[in-house]
């Protein structure tokens, strides 16, 4: 009696979906690890350095304390704010050399409070909308 192997393909019909055939008696199987990468775009736009591209078309608005081209020698840090989901405001700070420095989250209420207190100048908040680049 032919042995019935535990693999998902019989050793007598050992042709997998990829068309590879293995010798009789040589069973095979596989096991998977899921893997993911969540990319983001955080950079000063190449065509207009007054603007910041934050995840491209996903950005809603941003605020930067000082405009600085990455690659030059800025003297002060910059901050980008992005409304990422519902009430969450994401903040990314850049160090003086233009490198990404730190990332944190706070609420939209705190953002509004800081505007009311004069800690953030609302004039430099650029508004956008989903599906449209900030220009």
């Amino acid at each position: 009696m032919p042995r019935r192997p535990a693999s998902r393909y019989s050793m007598f019909t050992a042709t997998d979906k990829l068309g590879e055939t293995y010798a009789e008696g040589k069973d095979f199987n596989w096991m998977m690890i899921p893997a993911e990468v969540i990319l983001e775009t955080v950079r000063f736009s190449k065509d207009n350095k007054d603007y910041v591209e934050f995840n491209g078309y996903d950005a809603y608005y941003y605020m930067n304390e000082a405009v600085m081209p990455i690659g030059s020698k800025p003297k002060i840090t910059a901050r980008i704010l992005g409304l990422v989901k519902d009430d969450a405001v994401r903040q990314i700070r850049f160090a003086a050399d233009g490198a990404r420095d730190e990332e944190s989250y706070f609420t939209k209420r705190k953002l509004i409070d800081e505007i009311k207190k004069g800690l953030i100048n609302p004039d430099i908040i650029r508004y956008g909308r989903p599906g449209k680049k900030l220009r």
Binding site: K17, N29, W30, M31, I33, E36, V37, T41
Partner: protein, 210 residues
């Protein structure tokens, strides 16, 4: 030690003790390391890899349209400094870009009972990669193994110790998964990878999450 964790040495580094798969019984031939599209939402994973149509496998103009994933068999040796292959080799080799059964890593040795295969893996991100990336880079790493008689059970481990003194932590597929991220990532928080201004960037860190 437990998940989430940062994997020590992962990527284009001269590190041997990075990821490990252990076989409960002997294999009949050396296994393969492959990568395929994952159609399910991380950390769920398909029951088998079937396609390689996502951008992570087709590449982009900036990276020369080659697979972004690369891996090396480190079972017996260190991979060497800056070991990332600059091109994809057809079929299997010990260091390769990963794309289904077109380009894969062929382990050199056949694990015996309780034996293990070790590998290092990295990701190259070009500046013109698609953002958001949820549908373009979601993939699965597949170990294809061969046996005669009793089928081995496999267990996966990641090193969160040091290269010289590894601490191997078990990861559970479908519950845990592999992620690539920025330098100094807080692996208990949001895991992101920022694309480069130009050229390509090798993901500075990799970890196990969820």
């Amino acid at each position: 030690m437990s998940v989430p964790l940062q994997i020590t040495g992962a990527g284009n580094n001269d590190a041997q003790n990075v990821l490990k798969v252990t076989f409960s019984t002997a294999c009949s031939a050396a296994p393969r390391l492959e990568a395929w599209d994952n159609s399910l939402t991380f950390p769920s994973v398909d029951t088998a890899g079937t396609t390689v149509v996502k951008e992570i496998f087709t590449g982009t103009t900036v990276n020369g349209s080659i697979p972004m994933l690369f891996a090396a068999d480190t079972t017996n040796d260190l991979p060497g400094a800056s070991w990332k292959p600059t091109a994809a080799t057809a079929g299997g080799t010990v260091k390769n870009r990963l794309k289904g059964n077109v380009n894969y890593v062929q382990f050199e040795s056949t694990p015996g009972t309780g034996g293990s295969s070790l590998f290092n893996i990295g990701l190259e991100i070009p500046s013109d990669a698609t953002v958001p990336s949820s549908s373009s880079l979601n993939h699965l790493i597949q170990i294809r193994y061969y046996y005669s008689g009793t089928e081995p059970t496999l267990s996966f481990r990641a090193n969160e110790g040091t290269e010289a003194s590894p601490t191997w932590t078990v990861l559970t597929p479908n519950t845990n998964g592999l992620q690539f991220a920025n330098l100094n990532t807080d692996w208990t928080g949001t895991v992101k990878l920022t694309i480069p201004e130009s050229g390509v960037l090798d993901a500075p860190e990799a970890g196990i999450t969820i």
